[in-house]
């Protein structure tokens, strides 16, 4: 299942790119699984996802929790807690 990932703020900076297309294995079922799978790549990914509690996500442009299922998602964004306003 091809999935477009987007990264923002320090997640983007630590990984070194603003997005990519990935094909996670079937056992990657939730947002939290996806974060763990990416962190296991090491390098900037490990740095970006060292503290999963500080990562927020959106599935197809709607905020999603760590336990949200990613099946059927087209675009998942991973980013720090928002700081607008």
């Amino acid at each position: 299942m091809a999935l477009d990932l987007l990264y923002f703020a320090w997640v983007r900076e630590r990984i070194g790119c603003d997005g990519e297309r990935v094909e996670p294995p079937a056992e990657v079922a939730t947002v939290a699984d996806l974060i763990g799978w990416l962190a296991a790549r090491g390098g900037g990914y490990a740095e970006a996802f060292a503290e999963p509690a500080k990562i927020r996500a959106a599935i197809d442009q709607s905020f999603a929790r760590g336990d949200a299922a990613i099946a059927g998602a087209r675009e998942i964004a991973l980013f720090p807690p928002v700081t607008g306003g």
Binding site: A77, V82, T83, G85
Partner: protein
Amino acid sequence: MIEIAVGSEDFDPGALLARLEATGGGGVASFTGLVRGEDDLEALELEHYPAMTGHALAGIADEARHRWPLLGLVMVHRVGRLVPGERIVFVGTAASHRAAALEACAFLIDWLKTGAPFWKKEHRGARSAWVEARESDDAARARWG
């Protein structure tokens, strides 16, 4: 009347207030957020998630209209590089009576700060750092239930 805008250009609060006043209500309330002129801050950089921002702001606006009888609602948020004293954000409401306008205005900015995909980075000389989310902002959102 609903206006939602995100962009790098500055905006004119007077013009926005005039459009809210033209809705025929008895009260208009607004909040304008500025880049604080603190110590050695040179600039703020505002990043956002373009494909999601408009949709997130529209959702917050819908929630406000569901809770209060509003005649007008404006949300404007800037992105890009902003220096101290520059405007970042404007939220404004018009209603028949002041309570709805004032409460909805406070609600909009509290929800915007925690519910829309914007991130701020501070530039101080050669140093730069992402602003951390504040627990007080989560508490401000939580007070609306």
